[in-house]
């Protein structure tokens, strides 16, 4: 056990990879029976302070359809200066520069500790970072002011050579020209008209007349650059201009009649932004940052009409197929997102409003391009301000924690094929020998584009074992997987990170115990959750739950130890013991339950769930609960209603919220002001402890969680109560006695009931 746990931890630390199974069944049949597919969570840009990048190009397999990168798993003939590709077994000579290679003089990529290695390659001119602000001006004065300040502040965080652009929109869309002096100049687009990229570029004067292009051909490049410069300028040059411009930004001047929403042309604004970048900096890292204070109300991508009397769609409407604009808008944004993704530009959405802003429709913009979504109540909150600031966080090298234009390629050894990926990426439709026909997530390709990456961006990658059952298990054979991620580093370098991992093959018949013990239930839970969430995007909620349940039951049947039809005899090994509990909380999570969540919130939660790393994802599935009391040091406690005691302070981290809950007694003491009395210094410390811990989490997390300080009986306590396992409810309160915990007023089943039921089903023959 420990070995596996250590192995898993070590692998994660070194390669950013966590597999659901760390021993792989050798045949397709066996693999299928394991229920949880062979899959992994991969964090391409996992921060590796101890991994110095190498300054040369990777050596690749010469076989055209392989092109695997030389790695520690390759067999090397130092004498012949030949290496054998461990994926296709092609024998490749080393390039001349490797002439001095020998057993004692090995390049880094051959050393085992460099199973993950990063190359800096010199291809093309260094591409500047591009930030294009797309700002909604239909905001309340106060919000707009706050947003303007945030934006102005952000200018100071940008590297001087970064290019910035500004598009504002309300009823119209304005693309501001930043290079002009005197009169400020902007290009205006009507908010109701869907324009093609070509039209937009023409209207912005980014293209020369066809005739001119035809005659002169290429030489126009410099002019193009100059033209684009009007809208995208280096920060250092337009700093003042832009600051003034932002300062003078007015609220949308068109009057909003009573009973109407302001007309907000978000769709066109985005289309213009995408078109602008498409025309000027294709395949260059760029970030479109969209700030919205309400839903798009006109033009393409409209989410809701401008009549206030028609509310924005709810889950109820959607289920009843009553959401008029949903499909059209979604389709529109998807098309935009795909265009943007193809060009390597990512789109962030910062939505701050009390009501929904149409994230449901727009989520794909970020989901497909690796952009962020941040949801808040107002731009004038620290939640937004700090989160926004954190976008520009820097790493230990002083570089932005962001990378652009990532292309991740997966190569597998012959026994494996890749089924798909779930994460903030799009398929590059690269068919190859290692692509499975069985799609899970975004499949049918071995390459994905992740337009924007940060060190925590994590993809779930699913594989299929394709070996036939009767094929022999090679002795000591290992299946290998190589992840090749090319990206544009925030310091404008192009880099390639190569991670090569291998796992042993096992025979499911004889080595099932080993396989079971190689199970990584945390990774498996998250990977299954991703599958569930991915399905939930396209399927009805209940179907997804049923599917999850079935998977769980099958897993339990496969690995549980029980006597037939005897639930009480059911036992799970330690490596699977937590898995049902994860599933229990996942079923209750907002990722699969839409009750009490708006469509926007669901989209927001799901967005983050499919891109965060394992730890964060687990927190999202099963929040962490700490207890602070005089009885001992702070300790994690069960996420259970029984943990809610009067003399405790609870700190719950759900990733999206941080809740500090003061038990009844504590709350009374606090109200009485004991903490201010010198003799109750210890009480004061007790009160302070969770605050400090919360602060620590707040400091590091992106997006910044909603911070809630509440107490017993407080209205905000619902955040806590909705998360804990309802072991005590109004139904069984008296059965359990009154001495501990707090009853939850819900009809949801408790974990106990869930488990009982699971056991029953697992031991039965059905299913």
């Amino acid at each position: 056990m420990t070995t596996y746990q250590e192995f898993i931890q070590q692998n994660e630390d070194r390669d950013g990879v966590r597999f659901s199974w760390n021993l792989w069944p050798f045949s397709r049949q066996d693999a299928t029976r394991l229920v949880v597919p062979v899959s992994c969570l991969f964090t391409p840009l996992k921060e590796r302070p101890n991994l110095p990048p190498v300054q040369y190009e990777p050596v690749m397999c010469s076989r055209a359809n392989c092109k695997a990168v030389l790695n520690p798993l390759c067999q090397v003939d130092f004498r012949a200066k030949i290496w054998a590709c461990n994926f296709c077994f092609q024998r490749n000579p080393f390039p001349p520069s490797y002439g001095g290679i020998s057993e004692v003089n090995q390049p880094a990529e051959l050393m085992p500790q460099f199973s993950t290695i990063e190359y800096i390659v010199q291809r093309g001119p260094p591409a500047p970072l591009i930030f294009l602000y797309v700002v909604d001006t239909c905001l309340e004065e106060e919000d707009l002011q706050a947003l303007k300040e945030s934006l102005q502040m952000s200018l100071s965080l940008l590297p001087p050579n970064a290019l910035v652009g500004l598009i504002t929109f309300g009823r119209m869309v304005q693309v501001h020209e930043l290079s002009c002096e005197g009169i400020s100049k902007s290009y205006v687009f009507r908010g109701t008209k869907d324009l093609s990229s070509k039209q937009i570029q023409e209207m912005l004067g980014l293209t020369k007349p066809a005739a001119a292009v035809g005659q002169q051909g290429r030489p126009l490049a410099p002019q193009d650059a100059a033209a684009s410069c009007r809208f995208l300028q280096p920060v250092h040059r337009v700093d003042m201009n832009l600051t003034d411009l932002l300062g003078e930004l007015q609220r949308d001047p068109w009057p909003v009649p009573q009973g109407k929403r302001p007309l907000r042309s978000t769709g066109v604004a985005l289309s213009v932004a995408v078109g602008l970048l498409e025309g000027t900096f294709p395949n260059t890292g760029a970030r479109v940052m969209l700030f919205i204070g309400g839903p798009p109300t006109q033009g393409p991508g409209m989410v809701v009409g401008d009549e206030l009397k028609t509310p924005i769609r709810s889950w109820h409407d959607i289920q009843k197929d009553n959401a008029r604009h949903l499909k059209k808008a979604t389709k529109y944004y998807e098309a935009l997102a795909n265009r943007s993704a193809v060009n390597g530009h990512s789109i962030d959405i910062y939505a701050c409003a009390l009501d929904q802003t149409g994230l449901l429709e727009m989520k794909c913009l970020s989901n497909l391009t690796g952009g962020h979504i941040v949801m808040g109540d107002s731009f004038n909150t620290s939640l937004f301000k700090q989160t926004f600031q954190r976008v520009f966080n820097k790493d230990y090298n002083g570089d932005f924690r962001m990378a652009f234009g990532g292309v991740m390629e997966v190569k597998t050894s012959r026994e494996l094929k890749v089924c798909g990926t779930i994460g903030p990426c799009v398929s590059l439709n690269s068919k190859g020998s290692c692509v499975s026909e069985n799609e899970m997530g975004i499949g049918g390709t071995s390459q994905w584009k992740v337009c924007s990456l940060d060190p925590s961006t994590t993809l779930g990658i699913y594989f299929e074992v394709v070996n036939q059952h009767n094929a022999p298990v090679p002795q000591g054979g290992r299946g290998a997987i190589q992840f090749v991620t090319q990206y544009q580093h925030s310091n404008t370098q192009r880099r390639i990170r190569v991670t090569t991992v291998a796992r042993n093959w096992a025979d499911a018949q004889s080595q099932i115990q080993h396989i079971e013990s190689s199970f990584d239930q945390e990774a498996a839970a998250v990977l299954m959750a991703r599958l569930g969430v991915f399905r939930a995007e396209s399927e009805e909620g209940p179907d997804v739950l049923r599917w999850l349940d079935r998977q769980l039951i099958r897993l339990c049947q496969k690995f549980g130890q029980f006597n037939k039809d005897d639930p009480t005899s059911f036992k799970l090994s330690e490596s699977l013991s937590l898995y049902p509990q994860f599933m229990f909380h996942l079923r209750r999570s907002p990722f699969l339950q839409v009750f009490n969540n708006s469509p926007d919130e669901s989209s927001y939660y799901r967005h983050h769930f499919v891109r965060q790393d394992l730890t964060q994802s687990l927190i999202m599935v099963q929040p962490i609960l700490y207890a602070y009391s005089f009885h001992g040091p702070p300790e994690p406690v069960l996420l259970d209603s029984s943990s809610i005691l009067p003399d405790r302070i609870l700190l719950m981290d759900t990733f999206f919220q941080l809740v500090i809950y003061h038990g009844e007694t504590i709350a009374q003491w606090r109200k009485a002001g004991y903490q201010d009395m010198p003799e109750y210094e210890n009480f004061k410390q007790l009160l302070q402890a969770p605050l400090d811990d919360a602060q620590e989490i707040l400091q590091t997390r992106f997006p910044m969680p909603r911070y809630i300080d509440t107490e017993h009986g407080g209205s905000q306590a619902r955040f806590l109560l909705s998360k804990v396992n309802p072991s005590q409810t109004h139904n069984n309160l008296y059965a359990w006695g009154q001495e501990t915990g707090a009853p939850i007023l819900t009809d949801d089943v408790s974990l106990q009931v869930f488990m009982d039921h699971l056991k029953k089903l697992a031991v039965s023959n059905s299913v």
Binding site: M172, Y187, F189, M203, G205
Partner: protein, 1229 residues
């Protein structure tokens, strides 16, 4: 000598007249009522005479009357002089009165009784009576009174204008004298007519009729006049048809012609000659006697008229008495004889004669003298008179008119009187009548043929009707305010300065009709072919001394209107049942008077408060409209002006952009406002554009303007609302900063393509967004070839000119702009377009929106900052500052019986009755054509009410009402007697210029010629006395129709020269469509002033637009309404050069100068004053072009010498007249 005598005479007369007039008339009335009545109809003439003389009652007529008086005086003097001479003067009162009385009576009655209404009837009556004689009648009538022969003579005399001369002759005959005198012509002709002439005349006359003219005339003329007379006569003859021309020419003896015309009155013939003969001298003398002139001009004319009207006799008395000048005129008449004696006479005349004559000196003198002096001094002058005559000859009727008028011209001296008589309001009427008599003129025609030999190939231009003469005559007649109280009274010509007093009908500044006597039935109208139309200029600017329309507020209920036809309350509403109801004058429906509007009636059935309420007593007034009259039932927002400036390469390079921006900085302080104390409420906005549009946010809170670029030209929209349209004062800083920066921003532009459709759309959208009406000022340079709605192709194809496809070049290339125009109108978005093209821009298409929205187009081809800046800026200033109404709807309601059927102008019509004008400014006129749909009654006349609902520039919704009542007649002669040729030409030109859209231009020209021929033929057939078919007889009121029509036919639109671009034609075509009568008049017949001598206070008398009239040693100023030329003769006097240019030699004149150097000498000052005042008169600034004789630029100048053959093949006046005569003869045969 005579003069002297006359003068004395005059004074005596004057005295007697006062008393005389009344008494005499009274009796006369009794005696001659009926017969005269008809004449009275013409009463106008009479009135003119009468009023001035002594008929204070006729104050209304005074102006004309005054003129008449002088005429009469003159004539009378003349008559008296020759015929009765002194005696007349002395006793004249009595004797003359009698005769006159007859005329005068009738007239007098008319006037006296019912100054307004009564007159009308009488006139008709008169006319009828006349009609028979009309021309003839007059003769008959004359005969009766005076004796047949004389009448004829007189008539002819009158006709000829020469008549005057003839008149004099008549005077010779005692009996005639009066008639003559009565007739306008009398004066000059008469004067000229000296007895001698008569004697001779008779002969000629007789001869004329038969073989006419030619031989006899010439001979006679020669005989009579010897050398001199003939010439004058000849001209006349020449004026006649070819044959006639010859005759005339030959007739040099135009006099003969006159005689001929007069034939009946052999006298006339003779008279004229004599008169002429003498006149020349006279004229000279007159001229020489400037002093007298003044008096004449002012007093004399009137006198003459009155004199005439009253009766030749009275004239002598009356006229004389009133004014010394008249005497002069008399002298003048004598002078003719005297003239010969020039020196002596001159001396004598000086006093009297000069006045009139002098003013006109050269020309007038000619004219005046014309009759008499014509030969002597100026053949021309003589010609003039003769011309008049000739015209007469040509158009017999014309002659009468012409004669009369001519006389007036001569009136300058003697001539004026006659003309005045003729011209005078009624005078005109009478003239027609006279015309009848003139049929004699036809004789001229006949004679003319004979004369042909002399003239041979060419009619003497002096022998044909002269516009200048007519204009001057009318000016001379008009000395008193024109009051509009009388139904069917033709106003003075547009070339005359006069004051208007609104007494129940709209001022001619607002409404001018082609006919003030409409035919009662459709058949008549069809027969005559005279177009029935009105030119309405609803928001015309009034001179300082006239009150603008009062604003009437009828309270919440809105204006009181007829229940059925919805006509607005006006003086024609008849209150009945003690004031509780009123009967509509238009549809006769009876409507309850709302309680708050009730008022008791007095014993005449008039409301007691009649004169307290403008809507009951005035012809023009405004109602305050209620919210019901507003679009969407919302009180309108204040309008907005949006400036849209082309900033493409061409625009920047030509300097246009910087000029506009610079100018706007100051101009914005002069946005239109109704109360000069207040700031204008008009908001402004700015847009620049090339291939894309740039809007500017100039909100006052901004430190710098913001530019918003809209590239989506295919689907135009307004990028901002707040901050686009701003109040000038609030945003001044930002606006100035913007205007400073625009030229800089685009200084280096390399964009050459432009859009146009989206530009207007942008303005339109902006107004829509702001929910207000407004005006767009578009400054545009080139054909919009950039990809956008409304994109155009270059389709200029000279090969199409003259083909059936030519019309397509006038039509818009794409229908986009029609649709756009419709939208603009719906929003009240008026578009003014300033074009600065360097090549073809397709004005026909670009102009669609401006033309449909009541906007204007200004075109500055090859614009160059230095030379065109002034013109452009002045146009721009005027265009921005002028008062304008928005979102206007005009509706013309008429009496049952006629209906407004067709409209011409800059507007849009979505149905057949409502004229929709997005914008309506003070320079826009709309021509409305009426057709019968039933019978009209002579009693009630025809009523026209034009109501314009509009939003004033202060945002107030108003209704402007113009009422017009005209008479109806059942006799064609009446119709012809009360026409206004200028207005008819206005109608014809608009009709024709619209016709080219759908017909080949040749067909359009032919149609015009045909209609004109039919009009004249109808007159000849039905109104003129029977005479030789060879004679051209023109109605007095229409004697200029041929010359003006020829100008229309020769215009660039209908007959383009090789160097006239399509754009120019389209531009002119569209511009004409909204011109008023004054503008079309000067446009088609430019004003050409000799500058050899300038006096402060008065303008020199114009000369005719012909190269022949230009003296090499002179300097001339020509004004067309669009251009201003200063033509400098090659051998101009050094002094002139020095005074004008400050240079000593001809060769040093810089012909590229656009303004004259400021020199400190009176001449230069006066000239510049004149130029300035001309410019001030016109709605467009005229750039001055200095044209040196025989310079290349002279070609352009010559183009406007419209009486000459044009290089593009247009006929000369003379040729055209012959052609016209041929056409008429064809119709008659």
């Amino acid at each position: 000598m005579n003069v002297n005598q006359h003068t004395p005479m005059a004074s005596p007369y004057g005295q007697p007249q006062p008393g005389y007039g009344q008494p005499t008339y009274a009796p006369l009335d009794g005696g001659y009522p009926t017969p005269y009545a008809p004449y009275n109809g013409p009463a106008s003439a009479y009135q003119s005479g009468v009023p001035q003389q002594g008929y204070s009652p006729f104050t209304s007529f005074p102006s004309k009357a005054v003129a008449a008086n002088p005429v009469s005086d003159l004539s009378s003097p003349l008559d008296l002089g020759p015929a009765r001479g002194p005696p007349a003067s002395g006793p004249p009162p009595a004797s003359a009165p009698l005769q006159y009385n007859q005329y005068s009576h009738s007239q007098g009655d008319m006037q006296n009784g019912p100054p307004p209404m009564t007159q009308a009837p009488p006139r008709p009556a008169v006319s009828q009576p006349y009609n028979p004689g009309a021309m003839n009648l007059s003769q008959p009538s004359y005969p009766q009174h005076y004796g047949p022969p004389p009448t004829m003579q007189q008539v002819t005399n009158q006709m000829t204008g020469m008549q005057i001369t003839s008149g004099p002759p008549t005077p010779a005959g005692p009996g005639y004298a009066p008639p003559h005198s009565s007739q306008p012509p009398v004066s000059t002709p008469y004067s000229a007519a000296p007895a001698p002439s008569y004697t001779q005349a008779p002969l000629p006359v007789s001869s004329a009729p038969t073989q006419p003219p030619p031989p006899s005339a010439p001979a006679t003329s020669q005989q009579y006049y010897g050398g001199p007379p003939p010439p004058s006569q000849q001209p006349f003859n020449s004026s006649l048809p070819p044959t006639s021309q010859q005759q005339f020419t030959s007739s040099v003896p135009p006099p003969p012609a006159s005689q001929q015309t007069l034939p009946p009155s052999s006298y006339s013939g003779p008279v004229p000659p004599p008169s002429q003969a003498p006149p020349p001298p006279v004229s000279q003398p007159q001229q020489s006697f400037p002093p007298p002139q003044p008096p004449f001009s002012s007093a004399p004319p009137p006198l003459s008229q009155p004199a005439f009207s009253s009766g030749p006799p009275p004239p002598a008395q009356g006229s004389f008495p009133p004014r010394a000048p008249p005497p002069s005129s008399q002298p003048g008449s004598f002078p003719p004889p005297g003239p010969p004696p020039t020196s002596a006479p001159s001396c004598q005349y000086p006093g009297p004669m000069p006045p009139q004559q002098q003013p006109p000196p050269s020309q007038p003198s000619p004219y005046h003298s014309g009759p008499p002096p014509p030969r002597a001094q100026m053949p021309l002058t003589s010609m003039a008179q003769s011309n008049h005559l000739p015209p007469g000859p040509q158009g017999p009727p014309g002659p009468p008119g012409a004669l009369q008028q001519p006389p007036p011209q001569p009136g300058m001296q003697p001539g004026y009187p006659p003309q005045q008589n003729g011209a005078f309001g009624q005078v005109r009427g009478p003239q027609p009548g006279y015309a009848g008599p003139y049929p004699g003129q036809p004789n001229y025609g006949a004679p003319a043929p004979a004369p042909a030999p002399p003239a041979q190939k060419r009619l003497d231009p002096d022998a044909i009707p002269s516009p200048i003469q007519v204009i001057e005559d009318d000016k001379a007649k008009c000395t008193e305010p024109f009051t509009t109280g009388v139904r069917g009274q033709a106003p003075p010509l547009v070339t005359t300065n006069f004051q208007v007093k609104d007494q129940g009908n709209a001022s001619p500044r607002f409404v001018r009709c082609t006919a003030y006597n409409m035919p009662c039935t459709a058949d008549m109208a069809k027969q005559s072919q005279v177009p029935l139309a009105a030119v309405i200029k609803p928001l015309a600017t009034l001179p300082q001394d006239e009150t603008p329309p009062y604003l009437v507020d009828h309270g919440e209920g809105g204006p009181i209107r007829c229940n059925r036809c919805k006509a607005y309350m006006c003086p024609y509403m008849q209150f009945i049942e003690g004031g509780r109801r009123f009967q509509c004058g238009f549809c006769s429906c009876v409507t309850e008077v709302p309680p708050h509007y009730f008022q008791h009636l007095d014993h005449t059935g008039k409301r007691v408060d009649c004169y307290d309420r403008p809507e009951l007593s005035l012809g023009s007034y405004e109602f305050l409209a209620t919210v019901d009259y507003c679009k969407n039932n919302k009180i309108p927002q204040p309008p907005a002006f949006i400036f849209l400036i082309d900033v493409s390469y061409n625009a920047v390079k030509s300097g246009m952009v910087s000029i506009v921006c610079q100018e706007l900085k100051t101009l914005l302080d002069y946005l239109p406002r109704e109360n000069p104390e207040m700031d204008s409420v008009v908001r402004v906005g700015f847009v620049t554009y090339n291939k894309v549009l740039h809007f500017y946010n100039v909100k006052s809170s901004l430190a710098q303007p913001q530019m918003l670029v809209v590239s989506d030209v295919s689907d135009m929209f307004v990028p901002l609302l707040d901050g686009f349209l701003v109040n000038v004062n609030e945003s001044r800083q930002v606006i100035e900063s913007l205007l400073d920066q625009i030229p800089e921003m685009f200084a280096d532009t390399r964009e050459t393509e432009t859009v146009f459709g989206p530009v207007i759309q942008a303005g339109l959208e902006a107004l829509k967004a702001a929910d207000c009406a407004g005006k767009l000022f578009v400054f545009h340079t080139s054909l919009p070839i950039a990809e956008a709605p409304g994109k155009l192709k270059n389709r200029e194809d000279k090969k199409l000119i003259g083909t059936d496809k030519e019309k397509s070049l006038f039509q818009p290339q794409v229908s986009f702009y029609n649709t756009l125009a419709k939208e603009c109108v719906a929003q009240g978005c008026c578009v003014d377009l300033f074009l600065f093209p360097n090549q073809y821009v397709d004005v026909a298409t670009l102009g669609v929106v401006p033309v449909s929205t009541g906007g204007s187009i200004y075109k500055y081809t090859y614009f160059q900052a230095q030379s065109d800046q002034e013109r452009f800026l002045n146009d721009l200033r005027r265009d921005v500052q002028k008062l304008v109404g928005f979102d206007a709807v005009m509706r013309v309601r008429t009496s049952t019986g006629i209906r407004a059927t067709d409209f011409f102008g800059s507007f849009f019509m979505s149905n057949t009755t409502d004229v929709e004008l997005a914008g309506l400014d003070c320079d826009k006129a709309i021509t409305v054509e009426f057709k019968h749909d039933d019978k009209l009654s002579e009693e009630t006349g025809a009523l026209i009410q034009c109501a314009v609902l509009y939003t004033s520039c202060s945002g107030q919704r108003r209704l402007r009402i113009h009422n017009m009542a005209v008479n109806c007649c059942s006799q064609l002669a009446d119709l012809y007697r009360n026409c206004e040729t200028d207005t008819i030409i206005n109608f014809f030109s608009k009709y024709a210029f619209r016709g080219v859209l759908n017909n080949p231009t040749k067909a359009v020209r032919d149609t015009l010629v045909n209609q004109c021929a039919q009009i004249l033929a109808c007159y000849r057939k039905n109104c003129a006395s029977p005479s030789s078919a060879g004679q051209l007889i023109l109605p007095e009121c229409m004697k200029l129709l041929p010359v003006y029509l020829n100008c229309v036919l020769k215009s660039d639109v209908l007959l383009p020269g090789a160097d006239v671009s399509l754009d120019d034609r389209a531009y002119l075509r569209q511009m004409i469509s909204c011109m008023d009568v004054a503008e079309t008049h000067v446009f088609f017949y430019p004003r050409l002033l000799p500058l050899m001598k300038l006096e402060s206070g008065s303008l020199p008398v114009a000369v005719r637009d012909s190269e022949e009239r230009l003296s090499k040693g002179g300097v001339y100023l020509m004004e067309t309404g669009l251009h201003l030329f200063l033509w400098v003769g090659a051998s101009v006097q050094q002094e002139l050069l020095h005074n004008i240019f400050g240079t000593p030699s001809f060769s040093q004149i810089d012909s590229s100068m656009t303004s004259l150097p400021v020199l400190e000498n009176p001449f230069s000052q006066r000239l510049r004053e004149m130029i300035d005042s001309f410019r001030a008169q016109r709605s467009r600034y005229m750039k001055l072009m200095v044209v040196k004789q025989e310079d290349r630029a002279e070609l352009i100048f010559r183009h406007f010498l419209v009486e000459d053959k044009s290089t593009s093949g247009g006929a000369s006046y003379v040729d055209f007249l012959c052609h016209m005569h041929k056409e008429i003869r064809q119709l008659l045969s």
